[in-house]
Amino acid sequence: MFRNQYDTDVTTWSPAGRLFQVEYAMEAVKQGSAAIGLRSKTHVVLGCVNKANSELSSHQKKIFKVDDHIGVAIAGLTADGRVLSRYMRNECINYSFTYESPLPVGRLVVQLADKAQVCTQRSWKRPYGVGLLVAGLDESGAHLYYNCPSGNYFEYQAFAIGSRSQAAKTYLERRFENFTDSSRDDLVKDAITAIRETLQGETLKSSICTIAVVGVGEPFHVLDQGTVQQIIDTFEIAAEQEDPATEPDAATGQEAATEQGTAADQGGSTDEGAAPMDI
């Protein structure tokens, strides 16, 4: 994408019929660190890669609880994401108060999309630079939606956004047909595996990823680091036997890293990933 004379304003069309500012906003999403989501009939799992500014700072919070039955993972400008989560929380709680019933996810997503569309049609506004993966439970089952800065929204069985998300998407495309009937634990494992794909060789530790689950009988919550590390440990050992063909280099790299990883993590949550700041 190159600079041209039609990209100064969001209210200027290009002769090809494109709104460049909106497209640039989608680029911002692609630059953010990865977030993935996948769903079965009864559960939805969100996962994201934690980025920290430096070794001294804490991670960016990228997964937000919106209500007991809805959660959102963001990629892109986290400040925009924070503001939108506050809006979503407001909408949910107002609906709950008036109707004593949880807000259907589909409606929240449409309201969010309409809000994003407004920003693409005012000269004094700019589009939100954040992509949202909205996971929620509804009368009609479990849902996963993706909201773009353009104001579009789509429902997905599984999706990944952010940098290096293509690797995760490839993994999910291979496996998505099984997701509908997956158990909750299998779904979480698949999510962690998808995140590992985006890391492309980096060690997978619980300190660099965050996983959150919502399901029937299970309100939205973020899994704590200990649980995530346990799951990582269980299948890292299995992974070497499972996919030697698909990732020969990564597997050998993991072998050495696993021993180092487990030794370091045995003490607790302190590690070289980032400063432990009450995560």
Binding site: T98, Y99, E100, S101, G106, V110, D138, E139, S140
Partner: protein, 208 residues
Amino acid sequence: MQFMASKQPENSLLGPESDSQRTLYPYVTGTSVVALKYKDGILMAADMGGSYGSTLRYKSVERMKPIGKHSLLGASGEISDFQEILRYLDELILYDNMWDDGNSLGPKEVHNYLTRVMYNRRNKFNPLWNSLVLGGVKNGQKYLGTVSMIGVNFEDNHVATGFGNHLARPILRQEWHENLSFEDGVRLLEKCMRVLLYRDRSAVNKLQ
């Protein structure tokens, strides 16, 4: 707080230009509504009378209306306020339908919405002079609740408004049980309505 005792015309609410915007007395009123849960859903009964003070003036007033796909609303009290409530609910259901997604407002949601409306109106000292009974079935779940003029709301297996509370509920308490059949439920309601007809001055013998 000003209390202006000017006469309000029937079946209409004054606009904001006038000083007395507050509903002070009900003019055309309906009497009790009785409802109960039975095996497959909700049964509700109300007579079709609208009294103007002590005169039984209107004999074909429908005091029960279906709301959306799942609920039934019955009201006692000021008839014009009931019609206003119907207008609010019409708008609510319309917007709900306009979403055009798989979701629809069930009786629980409508009941809570009405509670909010009634409570907010009473907070402004301009109540909707009604006692409402809201019942419905959604996804096999039965729901029966009531909201009063001041916003008091609760759910129960059988509810009644006005005189029905004093005359009909004791009968219901004795004779109601889970899994009433349709015929038994109707018979029970008829019994309640008959007692109301005998003893309530404002009841008429035409039922809905």
